[in-house]
């Protein structure tokens, strides 16, 4: 895995920069485009981690569906969702919050605890779509089936909320 350090590093850098852009840029349309780039860079990162199928999923589901959905909705919002610039206090608080979270997560990664050395990654994991299918319909069958419930909730919820309107004023 070590020889992939450079491409991985580039993908990581792009992912971080685009994510930063999503957070910082004020116009929602730009945000959505940056999110698209972010998602693509992640797909590249997944390819580098031998997760080909997930990378394809990321491109088709995420970039293709979710981000485009975001784009559509941005156009429906009043004033295309323009927002006032954040005050200095808010920026400071947000940065502080982000820094605390970063510290809390990074610290256990950098200072590994426990006894012994962590096992090394296998040189070639030999992932295949067939293996993924065996996982989906084998040990992970229950959560996989449950996504049906989740999507069902999302569909009903989306439709119902879109149609949400007050009853006739006669009531």
């Amino acid at each position: 895995m070590a020889e992939r350090m450079v491409p991985l590093g580039i993908a990581c850098a792009v992912a971080l920069l685009t994510a930063l852009g999503v957070v910082v840029v004020r116009r929602p349309v730009h945000c959505a485009f940056l999110l698209l780039l972010h998602s693509l860079s992640l797909a590249a990162l997944y390819l580098g981690l031998s997760a080909d199928f997930v990378a394809m999923g990321q491109i088709t589901i995420y970039s293709g569906a979710i981000v485009v959905l975001f784009l559509f909705v941005v156009l429906l919002l009043p004033e295309a969702g323009r927002e006032r610039p954040a005050g200095a206090g808010r920026v400071l608080l947000a940065l502080g919050g982000g820094a605390v979270i970063l510290a809390a997560l990074l610290e256990p990664m950098l200072a590994l605890s426990g006894s012994g050395e962590p096992p090394a990654a296998p040189p070639d994991p030999g992932f295949s779509v067939a293996g993924l299918a065996r996982s989906l319909f084998g040990p992970q069958l229950v959560p996989f089936e449950l996504t049906a419930v989740l999507l069902f909730v999302a569909i009903i919820g989306g439709v119902a909320l879109w149609n949400r309107r007050p009853a006739e004023p006669s009531r």
Binding site: P139, Q140, V142, E145, L146, V149, G157, A160, P166
Partner: protein, 439 residues
């Protein structure tokens, strides 16, 4: 049929509930409202059938969740929605959310827990958004946003655990050298789930739902979600003792917070909201206190959800904040007042009420595990909590004599009151029965 019988109980229930949800949706264009209600009510009963013939904690957990869902479905029939059309959607969502809760309550796979949690939480968000008035949408969005943040936290935690343990099983031990990451991951997962327990400082979203959602959904969030989340957290804490101190700390913090917050309330909605935080705190405290503590927690959870369901049933169909002053001018009917007073007494934990036995059961393990100081704080928080629970009680009982002017309970709410009240009174007389169930 073999494949169906071989499935876990929770999945059987989820499958039946989903089928009924489809049926509810399909029946909508032609059938009457009554048919929709009937289907919604039938679903939890039908889903309970497979588990009825089984024994063991899993079947019991599923049954408990389904019983609460039945009460929720009964209350749905009486609640005011933004538009009556939404009854169909809310019925289906209630069933699907219950399916998620069943899985959450019993699953041993982190991914199942995640998906179950998210189904339940999204269903509550949408149902809240469909309630009457502008406040419900606002609350629903806040609940959703905070919930999404905690789900993201949970996913990150699952990633860390998978990295450190190489498995999604709840009990998987960390590999060499990765204990720190594993622990961090588990803490994140636990914190994510405790969102539904409404523990301070991640209680804001759920608090809003208790404040403003229609009573049936607030009741659903207080009972079904809470039971599911409590059981999931209990399993996590059993497998990984190092999350227990965190639960103890957050529990005591929540109890104290809820007591102070509750003292400032002058309406029933606020009372119920802070009460949910406080009881979430007691549940967490108890879960964090070893094996005895977890047994006590299950006991406590059963008693709490029964009492909360009773209160929700008594208040079903009443809009607004329900300020105490209004209770005197517009009294509830006799049945509803009795149910409400019983429920409030039980929630407050003053004797004679099952809530009192439950609190007693929690304090023993807490003293031995959490230590005297924290237990003292919890006890004081608990007993002073009675001050805010009992504040409306004199008015409520005084309102009884003008009961003929009060609004009587609808038939379905009456059945719900009977169910929840029956369980509450049963535990009042025979507390050890609940413990036996808990075991």
């Amino acid at each position: 049929m073999h494949w169906f019988l071989d499935m876990p109980h929770s999945l059987q229930a989820a499958a039946i509930l989903s089928l009924f949800a489809v049926a509810v949706l399909l029946s909508a264009p032609r059938a009457s409202v009554a048919t929709v209600h009937r289907l919604t009510l039938l679903a939890p009963i039908a889903a309970a059938l497979p588990a009825l013939f089984q024994r063991g904690p899993e079947a019991f957990a599923v049954l408990a969740v389904l019983a609460l869902a039945l009460i929720g479905a009964l209350l749905l029939c009486t609640d005011a929605l933004e538009n009556p059309i939404h009854r169909v959607e809310c019925g289906a969502l209630l069933l699907l959310g219950t399916a998620g809760a069943c899985v959450l309550a019993t699953a041993n796979n982190l991914l199942s827990i995640l998906i179950g949690f998210e189904s339940m939480s999204l269903a509550v968000a949408v149902m809240t958004g469909l309630g009457r008035g502008p406040r419900t949408l606002e609350v629903a969005f806040k609940f959703f946003a905070l919930g999404a943040a905690s789900v993201a936290t949970m996913i990150y935690g699952i990633g860390l655990v998978a990295y450190a343990a190489g498995s999604f099983e709840i009990g998987a031990a960390p590999l060499a050298g990765l204990t720190g990451l594993h622990q961090a991951g588990l803490l994140l997962i636990t914190l994510g789930i405790t969102y539904e327990l409404a523990l301070v400082p991640i209680h804001f979203g759920t608090l809003g739902v208790y404040f403003a959602a229609p009573m049936s959904f607030a009741g659903f969030a207080m009972t079904v979600s809470k039971l599911g989340a409590a059981l999931a957290v209990a399993r996590l804490a059993a497998a990984h003792p190092h999350v227990q101190p965190m639960l103890v700390g957050l529990g005591v913090l929540s109890i104290t917070w809820a007591t102070f917050g509750g003292l400032a309330q002058r309406h029933l909605r606020g009372l119920l909201a802070y009460s949910a935080v406080g009881h979430g705190g007691f549940l967490a405290l108890s879960i964090g206190c070893g094996t005895d503590g977890r047994t006590a927690a299950v006991f406590y959870a059963i008693v709490y959800v029964a009492s909360a369901a009773l209160v929700a049933a008594a208040l079903a169909g009443r809009d607004g904040d329900l300020p105490y002053a209004e209770l005197r001018t517009e009294p509830l009917g006799k049945l509803r007042t009795t149910a409400l007073v019983t429920g409030l007494l039980s929630l407050s934990g003053v004797p004679p009420s099952p809530g009192f036995w439950a609190k007693l059961a929690v304090l023993g393990p807490s003293w031995h595990v959490a230590g005297p100081l924290l237990t003292c704080i919890a006890v004081l928080g608990g007993v002073f909590g009675a001050l805010y629970y009992l504040r409306p009680v004199p008015d409520l009982i005084a309102g009884l004599r003008s009961g003929e002017r009060g609004t009587a309970a609808s038939r379905s709410a009456g059945v719900a009151i009977a169910l929840a009240g029956g369980v509450t009174v049963l535990f009042l007389v025979l507390p050890y029965l609940a413990l036996r169930l808990a075991n």
